[in-house]
Point group: C2
């Protein structure tokens, strides 16, 4: 493929670095951009170029933000008595997509992991405690991932926050919607049993 | 999702315009670019931005090129006695990827289609005839698509070019590699039978 014009080869190589995009898909995308209107390519290039320049962490919740405070923290309609704690900004976006949470967030920046040398001081736990102290926070929803590190982080935070007089909850664990008992792992079934609710 | 920071929302919207990329994939790619090194995003943005500026059609074969003539036409190692006729630059790239053709190409820019009002004058047929006259062309390989328009175009070109004293061939049609007789359509099987070769 050394017969590819260099600008096209460069673009294909860059696109193929993206997760889940192989050489064939990269080539298809590159040709799509090439035959499409110049304005579309310019808009995409601009959006990628400005991403790092125009995004930073919200000073309050450490989610992604264009300005000093993110749209969620600045939104007067959000319920300020609830803080949902997540590991990463991407987790926040997933929760927002469901549209079923109307409180604030707090992004830890990771999860406790002795193996990877991530301790409490490496996460944004102190700012969380300060936030809880600053405002009247009624509930902290722990939405760290349901894996070993996320569970450990949730347990750690629950012990730390409960003495502050705040209600601490954890996302429910159980069968995923549309799941099948036969193909569900034992741990999930055990948690679904433990967390069973009156019908 | 109006809580997304605008720069991220813009990028997700632009990425989701690409073929085969939905909103979820677009969000994943955008977050990948965001958490990745700034240099990677800059390289991708640059490659997309320069694509239209730095690519044009080769003056000889109408394939994609950075300069006046494309790398294939300019390559002295290519067999100049063969011209492979394709519909689009993307078809050329697919043939090149196989590495099993060492001649030149000619990009028609489409296929004859009365329904879409594409006639012989809308394709780069005259430049092809001129190329054949200019150089000693021994063979023209018709590699238009094996669909109705591509077939019609191949038949049209064969009638036009044979009187010029040039050998005209067509890509073989038959069973695809790894195919299964049971799941192959009748037309393909008929063509595979017609084109059967001595074993």
């Amino acid at each position: 493929m050394n017969s590819l014009p260099p600008p096209l080869a460069r673009l294909i190589a860059e696109l193929a670095k993206l997760p889940g995009i192989g050489r064939k898909t990269a080539q298809r995308l590159a040709l799509h951009l090439l035959v499409g209107p110049r304005a579309d390519s310019a808009a995409l290039a601009g959006a990628i170029a400005e991403l790092h320049d125009n995004l930073r962490f919200c000073a309050e919740c450490f989610g992604l933000s264009e300005g000093e405070r993110c749209l969620i923290c600045a939104d007067p309609r959000r319920d300020r008595s609830r803080i949902c704690v997540v590991e990463q900004p991407s987790n926040l976006l997933v929760l927002e997509r469901t549209g079923s949470y109307n409180g604030l967030y707090h992004v830890l920046g990771g999860a406790l992991s002795p193996l990877e040398n991530v301790g409490p001081d490496d996460l944004r736990i102190q700012p969380l405690i300060e936030r809880i102290g600053r405002r009247e926070t009624g509930e902290v929803v722990l939405a760290t991932n349901p894996d070993v590190e996320g569970e450990a982080t949730a347990v750690f935070l629950a012990r730390l926050l409960k003495p502050l007089g705040v209600r601490v909850s954890r996302l429910a664990q159980g069968m995923p919607a549309g799941g099948d008992l036969e193909f569900t792992d034992d741990l999930t079934i055990r948690r679904a049993l433990e967390g069973r609710r009156e019908f």
